[in-house]
């Protein structure tokens, strides 16, 4: 990995920074990253409070042709800043999405009523939370309570599904769909009990909580890896946390092993179709969709595997949009100080989508779907929902033969 010293000051990262574009208070990745890094000393207290304005989309790092770890430098500066300054209550609240989610799920009907009521919104305002977006709803039947195993026991393809919080607590229906999809394609799928990947804690500079969550997941995942399982994720932010932050930022001893054995769910599906001779019939889906690429899928550098699956669906017209950050960036956009930034970025990304006049938008990330669904008024889907719809159609077409997809 190259460091801040390799920066040639070309400004390519700056051209790609969404926050720099709309918030004049943020000096941009070049200054916040490599430029300021030479003045950050271990013993000296940070004064760069603007460093917290970075939303960690990592677009700067993807753009840099010299491999400078721009957003990682900034993340570490954020952690340093927070270590030295008291962090407000909001940070702790979001750092604990998992506990929040668990509680929220147990009391789903109440949580939903409370987070959407007017009084609660005022309280949130006092806590430094922005209030223009509907808060995510929690489901009672979380993934942890669904079926934990599926698919042929003797399958040579074993996967352990890391679903994360959003699919676990807020959209377990999508999680179950992915489980059934993988099983239908011939995988043995395990969904062990798991905690949050730790990203929200990192995003709120709570290194200790992040590490606590990560260690717990790491132990569990390595057990599966040692038994011949591949780890799959659908939420691209969870994925990036597992493959990048576990080894590089949280420095877990198991980090490397996890990174090397973790795959995006659509990489696995493509591999099954391309190389494992898995034969399924994709039925027609007559729709025009805008595929908003989440920043963290870009940051993974694996291309856009779901788009490779979409290509096989007859009738589906997909346009890829990968130049915009949705502005929500996990819990970033829920904070009052970022509200304007999130609003502006949401509007920009939404207008790019609306210009295509699609029937729906697709994103691999629950946060993007929440934000862009709100700003476009369009149905916001996970890639798997379209793939499943197509396979169900294909299966019913040849239902006289053996049905492969449940």
């Amino acid at each position: 990995m190259t460091t801040f010293e390799h920066c040639v000051r070309c400004t390519l990262c700056v051209e790609n920074c969404p926050v720099f574009k709309v918030n004049p208070a943020f000096p941009g990745p070049k200054q916040a990253g490599p430029d300021a890094q030479r003045f950050r000393l271990d013993g000296e207290r940070s004064v760069d409070d603007w460093v917290k304005l970075c939303c960690q989309c990592q677009r700067c790092q993807v753009a840099c042709p010299y491999g400078v770890n721009v957003s990682e430098i900034i993340l570490k500066a954020q952690l340093k800043y927070s270590r030295e300054h008291m962090s407000p209550f909001t940070a702790h609240l979001f750092a604990n999405t998992y506990h929040l989610g668990k509680l929220g799920a147990l009391a789903a009907p109440i949580t939903n009523a409370v987070t959407s009521s007017g009084a609660a919104r005022k309280v949130m305002g006092v806590l430094g939370l922005a209030t223009n977006l509907p808060m995510p709803e929690y489901r009672f039947l979380t993934l942890n309570r669904g079926r934990r195993r599926k698919g042929k026991r003797r399958s040579s393809r074993k996967v352990v599904f890391f679903h994360g919080c959003y699919l676990g607590f807020n959209r377990p229906d999508i999680g179950r769909g992915i489980r059934d999809l993988l099983a239908g394609l011939g995988c043995r799928v395990a969904i062990p009990s798991q905690t949050c990947c730790g990203l929200p804690a990192l995003g709120n500079s709570d290194l200790e909580i992040a590490k606590k969550f990560a260690r717990k997941n790491a132990r569990m995942l390595v057990e599966y890896i040692d038994r011949g399982y591949q780890v799959v994720y659908a939420c691209t932010s969870c994925g990036l946390t597992l493959v990048h932050d576990y080894p590089e930022v949280l420095e877990l001893p198991e980090g490397r092993k996890i990174a090397e054995n973790t795959y995006n769910v659509h990489e696995v599906i493509l591999d099954l179709l391309e190389n494992d001779g898995c034969s399924v019939e994709f039925g027609e889906v007559d729709r025009t969709i805008a595929y908003h690429i989440p920043c963290h899928l870009k940051a993974l550098g694996i291309g856009y595997p779901a788009a490779g699956v979409f290509e096989r669906i007859p009738g589906l017209r997909t346009t890829i949009l990968d130049d915009h950050c949705c502005g929500l960036a996990g819990s970033y956009g829920f904070k009052k100080k970022n509200q304007q930034t999130a609003e502006k970025l949401g509007t920009i990304a939404a207008s790019a989508i609306k210009a295509l006049e699609p029937d729906a938008l697709i994103s691999d990330c629950g946060a993007c779907r929440m934000q862009l669904g709100h700003y476009t008024g369009l149905p916001a889907l996970d890639p798997s929902e379209v793939i499943i719809a197509s396979l169900e159609k294909g299966a019913s077409k040849k239902s006289r033969g053996k049905r492969r997809i449940p």
Partner: protein
Amino acid sequence: MSAYGYDAVVIGGGVSGIMASLTLASGGFKTALVSRGDPVCCLSTGCIDVFSHSDEPLSGIRALLPDHPYSLVGEKGIKDALSFFLEIMAEAGLPYEGDPGRNRKILTPIGSTKNTCLVPRTMAHADMPPGEYLHVISFQGIKDFFPSYITSRQRNSTYSVYDAGVPTTLGIAARFDDASFLDAFITWLRGLEIPHDRVALPAVLGTIDPASVMEKISRAIGRKVFEIPTLPPSVPGLRLFRALKRVLQSRGVHLYWGKGVTSVECQGRTVEAVTLATTGRAKRVQGKAFVLATGSFVSGGLFAGRDSVRETVFDLPVAVPGERKDWFNTDFFSGAHGIERAGVRVDGSFRPVETDLDNLFACGSILAECEIMSLQCGHGLAVATGVAAAKSCAQGLS
């Protein structure tokens, strides 16, 4: 997990790699483009220099030595490639204008003019007939744009300053995407009652549809309007790159962005796969043919060590003019710096010479003998050689 297989894999996402990918995809080949980072194009003026060293690009090119990459493409190939580029840009909604037979002038931020060949529509009116009057609009606090440089060099010119609320070119450009901001700007501009023939602004007229923004302003004030490219970060360079990328994706080219090729697998005379340093673990990308478009020193396609110049992906032989002392020259901008001629030498089919790899092609600024700075032929050479190398690659594939 085994790799995803393509007909062609293009390495390097600059103008040459993108044009090569588009050519291959248009020929029906399943194509992947892998790139470590954003290309030089994003820092450029967005204008296509074909051969800006002289006023007539094609006649300048005719006079080049036979080993210059342009000579390998040939005049017809160059013209076809540039028309293909114009078609692509029209499709992308970022129309370009110009004619390879004759260069035109654009205005620079220091008030001088510069030769170039194809320009975005927003710079089409920059080539002013002598005697016309110019009014420049600048923005409050904008960095690296000083209208007095222009008014001191250009006779019959004056300027005014608008407060857009943000000081950066990117920030102002993002505001111009917003219709209500544009309306407020136009109202202010009309209030100035500018008597001059033309109005020029730094290149900030939006990131999405600058031609429409320009036309709207032009109609409102009844004057010709044009943009002046600024120092990086460059909005017109970014627009060009993003427009090309849009078309690329609409033609089904798969992008792998942000991670470089770190190793290659060859079997006998054939390149079989490249490995990308993706986050956490390496990813293999397989192909039947490969196009090398990793650029020169700026982008890291070439690397100059103390004693030699290296090609960084395949370790291909690099042609350097003579001994180091022959190409060493303390004045980098002298125009005839030997290092400008260093690069990968290719044959008429754009295969690197002195290697035994049959399915590898090369294009763009990585090629030997380009002399991009002194001839001023950057994007033009990238377009022409990108298309030519891809055509040759397509022939090999079918």
